[in-house]
């Protein structure tokens, strides 16, 4: 089971339309990615809440077919 980087990016963008998303494939196995997501909608939210917003956008794939996504979230400067 694996996910394509483009699929992850699309899901995050669908869920967070204003976000800039950068995905790095860590292992080439479709299972280990790092993602940096910057969105105005994160402003004022805790890191946990920000990450939960990204996980919600991933519609339950996180922890399922997507085993590892090292996540970094920020608000625009």
């Amino acid at each position: 089971m694996a996910m394509e980087a483009t699929e992850i990016e699309r899901l995050i963008r669908d869920g967070l339309p204003d976000a800039t998303v950068e995905i790095r494939d860590l292992a080439g196995d479709g299972n280990h990615y790092a993602a940096t997501v910057v969105s105005e909608s994160f402003r004022g939210k805790s890191r946990v809440q920000q990450h939960q917003m990204v996980y919600a956008a991933l519609k339950g794939q996180m922890g399922g077919i997507l085993h590892a996504l090292a996540l970094q979230t920020n608000v625009p400067d």
């Binding site: 890191r47 339950g60 922890g63 996540l71």
Partner: protein, 112 residues
């Protein structure tokens, strides 16, 4: 006791709790290992709960926090985050500050 009540009682009766894959001595997953390593560096005692021992706990903790992955870290009953967040907080010193603010004994003041 329901799984929710079990989790609730564990996080409220231990200063620091880590729901992890494996044990503090033998973490069984890289991410759980990173969190164990960070707390070892800080010299912080924590209760490790091995989710591999029970699918009920493994699923229950994800529902308890609405967080899809393991490990999950609690300090004084409050969900702090998973591996990414705890590592980020450790590197910025925020984790050390949080622990001290909550009155958790931090033995070694390790520098990042």
């Amino acid at each position: 006791m329901s799984i929710h009540d079990f989790i609730d009682s564990q996080v409220k009766s231990n200063d620091v709790v880590v729901f992890m894959k494996g044990t503090p001595q033998f973490p069984m997953c890289g991410f759980s290992g990173q969190v164990a390593h960070i707390f070892n560096l800080l010299g912080v005692d924590y209760k490790g709960i091995n989710v591999l021992d029970s699918d009920e706990i493994r699923q229950g903790i994800k529902e308890y926090t609405n967080w899809p992955t393991i490990p999950q870290v609690f300090v004084k009953g409050e969900f702090v985050g998973g591996c990414d967040i705890v590592r980020e907080m450790y590197q910025s010193g925020e984790l050390q500050t949080l622990l001290e603010e909550k009155g958790v004994v931090v033995m070694g003041r390790a520098t990042a």
